[in-house]
């Protein structure tokens, strides 16, 4: 057996700023040693909350490989505290992510990748918690030319939920009777929401929503990929739940370049057969139609629009 190699035919391992990154070299550049491309936008996948950079069931490996096959330099990173990267997780990990704790790290990483591989720009892709970090980083990075958000979440996790309520919740999911009662409760919630004309829920992530608005109004194109929600059809949320999608689309304004797709039959992690196949296909199609003619000059112009927005600056100092 030979020595450990950092490079194999289609992949390369990078250690940048305490983070391990897997780089999937685009087809057509694999036999050459120099790794500069300079023509096609890079795609950076951020890990989700429970997964390493490989994603659930290696799904991110497959997505990045497929995009690289189509010519997009693709990268997957373990953010600090995840996977192989340095550090232990912050004490309040969800709170840290939800307030943009990883934004500066991701932004610096993008800067490094753009310089090293002479990329004209980077599309940030994130799943669930990774999507929150993607939005914050997009606000901070002058090289971000787009985002792919997989099942983004705009609310904070509810803290201090009484134990009996958690158990009730679990029971309602497991039993048919509980499920039926839960359905009735959903209808009551919906009625109350309509009657009272309730706005954002009290656990909405206001900072993230502000950041989203700034990024999208700054001209960054976004592809949102959603798995069907439990007990709902299409893009609508479950009965009685606040419609964040409708809210963020409205917040983006009339010029927002936001595309939304539902990945039918997929699960939240998109790791089943349907999600596995659909994500690279939809992303590639979107990249081909939306992120075209990106040049360094274009990136710089776009960068001026989105760099250091107020909420991103908050994240930087948080």
């Amino acid at each position: 057996m030979g020595p450990m190699k950092q490079t194999i035919e289609d992949r390369e391992l990078l250690s940048l700023d305490g983070m391990w990154v897997t780089y999937h070299r685009p087809a057509g550049t694999r036999s050459k040693r120099p790794t500069a491309h300079g023509t096609r936008t890079g795609v950076l996948f951020l890990n989700g909350l429970y997964a390493t950079r490989a994603g659930n069931g290696n799904v991110a490996v497959e997505w990045a490989s497929t995009l690289a096959e189509h010519g997009y330099p693709s990268f997957r990173v373990d953010l600090p505290g995840f996977g192989d990267s340095e550090c232990d997780p912050p004490a309040d990990w969800c709170g840290y992510i939800n307030s943009g704790g990883y934004a500066t790290k991701v932004s610096a990483l993008i800067e490094g990748l753009v310089r090293k591989y002479k990329l004209p720009g980077v599309v940030i892709a994130g799943h669930c918690a990774g999507a929150a970090s993607a939005i914050y980083a997009a606000a901070l990075s002058r090289h971000c030319v787009g985002m792919v958000l997989l099942d983004p979440c705009f609310n904070m996790s509810r803290l201090n939920t009484p134990k009996f309520r958690q158990q009730l919740n679990l029971w309602s999911r497991r039993s048919r009777v509980g499920g039926a009662l839960s359905g009735i409760l959903d209808l009551l919630k919906q009625a109350r929401r309509k009657l009272k004309r309730e706005g954002l829920p009290d656990n909405a992530n206001l900072k993230l929503l502000r950041c989203w608005k700034e990024v999208v109004r700054g001209g960054v194109p976004v592809l949102i990929l959603r798995a069907p929600s439990r007990r709902s059809a299409g893009l609508k949320p479950r009965t009685g739940e606040f419609d964040y999608l409708e809210h963020i689309l409205a917040a983006g304004g009339p010029d927002a370049r936001v595309s939304v797709e539902v990945v039918e039959s997929s699960n939240h992690s998109f790791s089943n057969q349907q999600g596995r196949a659909a994500i690279p296909r939809l992303t590639e199609k979107w990249l081909g139609t939306t992120i075209t003619n990106v040049t360094t000059a274009h990136t710089a112009v776009m960068g001026e629009k989105v760099i250091l927005m107020p909420s991103a600056r908050e994240g930087k100092t948080a």
Binding site: M1, W20, F82, G83, E86, R230
Partner: protein, 277 residues
């Protein structure tokens, strides 16, 4: 990459890379120790459990490296960062890979003793390698009797989780999944497609009988062996589905295990606890 574990002033060097084996490149992480006194090969759990045990597995590797034990951990072929096709992988292939890595690690500095440490399915693989002559000591965490037991445990947990997200009419029990497998249809568990062939092979792929007994402190060649089985409430690497953001204090497990490792490999012990782990 250099890495300073929290609460410690020491800086660890960690090298990620691919090691070529027939038909695949195995992703491996070498946790270097400043002046290594021993080496350890960590053989991780089954594919579907990987992500749940990952964080604690990494911290354990760093804990050992900080105490002079150079550690190699890796992803099984077809899983995580390793290449290869999961759907056509077999337990025998994973066993051959583990043996190849144990050999690779031994060759780096042959004078240093080698610990094989496996968890769950990794315990079966490590046990078989050890039984075949690799390593100087063996540590098993939550070893199943055979691979089928490991797969069934994964399946039971998976079916439980699926119940929470599926409508009642679409829910399946673990036994329904098993019937599908036995009927020749693959099933999808945590994004991995389990094939009938893997399921059938799992019945005959087990830990050698002589390593099944918890009481045995040494094997028939006098090499130290430790088997730890953790109950459902124990804090361990072998307890998946812990939330990442839940605090998981493994200091007791790490320090007691390290004390055994140091004794088994006749090492000088290093500091009680230099990290928060």
């Amino acid at each position: 990459m250099r890495c300073a574990p929290p609460g410690s002033t020491a800086v660890l060097e960690e090298h990620a890379g691919y090691i070529a084996v027939p038909g695949a490149h195995l992703y491996a992480m070498l946790h270097r120790a400043a002046c290594p006194e021993a080496r350890a090969l960590l053989v991780g759990p089954f594919a579907s459990e990987r992500q749940f045990a990952y964080h604690a597995w990494v911290r354990w590797a760093r804990y050992l490296a900080l105490r002079g034990i150079e550690v190699l951990r890796y992803d099984h072929r077809g899983t995580g960062e390793s290449t290869g096709d999961f759907e056509s992988a077999t337990f025998e292939q994973w066993h051959a890979d583990a043996e190849a890595l144990a050999g690779w690690l031994s060759q780096q500095q042959p004078q240093l003793p080698l610990l094989l440490h496996g968890v769950e399915l990794g315990a079966v693989l490590a046990g078989k390698c050890f039984s075949g002559g690799a390593g100087d000591a063996l540590l098993l965490w939550s070893p199943p009797a055979d691979a089928n037991q490991a797969l069934r445990a994964v399946l039971r947990r998976w079916a439980g989780i699926e119940q929470l997200y599926e409508s009642p009419e679409n829910r399946k029990s673990a036994s329904a999944y098993i019937r599908e497998l036995e009927g020749g249809s693959p099933i999808e568990v945590h994004g991995y497609s389990w094939q009938t062939g893997l399921w059938r092979e799992s019945f005959t792929f087990g830990i050698p009988d002589r390593l099944q007994h918890e009481g045995a402190a040494v094997d028939d060649r006098g090499r130290p062996v430790k088997i730890d089985r953790f109950g459902s409430t124990a804090e361990s690497l072998a307890m998946p589905y812990r939330r990442y953001d839940e605090s998981q204090n493994l200091s007791g497990l790490y320090s007691s295990t390290y004390a055994w490792v140091a004794g088994a490999l006749l090492l000088d012990t290093h500091g009680p606890d230099e990290t928060n782990d």
